[in-house]
């Protein structure tokens, strides 16, 4: 088994941290963009780029509430995202066990 077995969408430091952080929320919960940014420590632009990639793969969903200056974007892991993280962890465990 090789590193290729690891989901390339998750197997990047920033996205791994995003997915793992969101997975710690209860199922059905979302996190505001600003708190996620504070926890991950990325610039808004970089965070948006990573979130878009994960969103394009349906690993997470974003919701925008409010208008103008009071608007807030929330990010939540989808069931597919949780399942992908589960598969990633399992593959990682197998890979490390095989080393």
């Amino acid at each position: 088994m090789s590193v290729e077995a690891l989901d390339p969408l998750i197997h990047v430091p920033a996205r791994l941290r995003i997915v793992v952080t969101l997975a710690e929320l209860d199922d059905g919960d979302a996190l505001s963009f600003s708190r996620l940014q504070e926890m991950i420590g990325l610039t808004p632009g970089n965070l948006i780029t990573h979130l878009r990639k994960l969103e394009d793969a349906d690993y997470l969903a974003t919701t925008k509430t409010g208008n103008g200056g009071s608007s807030q974007t929330s990010v939540a892991l989808t069931h597919l995202g949780r399942a992908a993280l589960g598969s990633y962890k399992a593959a990682l465990t197998r890979l490390l066990g095989g080393l």
Binding site: V3, P13, R17, G28, L31, G45, H50
Partner: protein, 218 residues
């Protein structure tokens, strides 16, 4: 997505890959850090509860100690208790607000429902207390054993059931211990029940803080 920020990094640095062992380490480090950040039942909060139970039940115990015949907690003691409760609620709100900042969704609704159930439970305890007094049950029972143990039965049952659904076995154990303490303390009589709950409740919440700290360090 949020505002108009431009992408500030492109290319390889954004797609930097990890070797498997670094990935495993980063995953565990991030998981532990996020777990602590979102944790509602923190060891600090458990210690706050321990002190609050000790102080509140201690004040009430001191106020009834030496009463012959037993009349129940005094007015000044009740005022002090309300003050301590108010401060405890404030500290709890601040600590919870820190953990749950930016979090929205179903768990928030569950917590609100839990809060309402707690209020209803406390109201029911005081209604039973009033009904007991109205029915001529002695002050020692209405304003002593029941007043001290009733809230523990409500809080223990609700917290335990909620924790079981969340698979939070530490809090589930705390709920069970509170109910058992509430039941067992009634044997201490109308004066001793306050002292028993003060020290017993303090011990339960200190144990909860210790278990949570240990779990966080694993």
């Amino acid at each position: 997505m949020n505002g108009t920020a431009d992408v500030e990094a492109h290319g390889p640095e954004l797609e930097e890959r990890l070797d498997p062992s670094s990935a495993a380490a980063l995953l565990e480090q991030t998981r532990a850090s996020a777990h602590r950040a979102f944790q509602v039942g923190t060891p600090t909060l458990a210690l706050v509860r321990a002190v609050v139970v000790l102080v509140i039940y201690g004040i009430l115990w001191i106020s009834v100690r030496g009463q012959h015949p037993y009349k129940g907690p005094t007015g000044p003691a009740l005022v002090a208790v309300i003050g301590v409760l108010g401060a405890a609620v404030l500290v709890t709100v601040v600590l919870l607000g820190r953990s749950l900042a930016g979090v929205s969704g179903r768990s928030l609704q569950r917590r609100r429902a839990m809060g309402l159930l707690l209020v209803a439970g406390y109201a029911a305890v005081f209604m039973v207390e009033g009904a007991m007094a109205h029915a001529g049950v002695g002050d020692g029972t209405a304003y002593g054993t029941w007043a001290a143990s009733g809230p523990l039965l409500v809080v223990g049952a609700l917290a335990g059931a909620y924790a079981a659904m969340q698979e939070d076995w530490t809090l589930c154990g705390v709920g069970a211990c509170l109910m058992l303490l509430g039941g067992a303390a009634t044997f201490a009589g109308p004066v001793g029940v306050w002292e028993t709950v003060a020290f017993g409740g303090f011990g339960i919440f200190v144990a909860q803080a210790a278990v949570q700290s240990w779990l966080n360090r694993r």
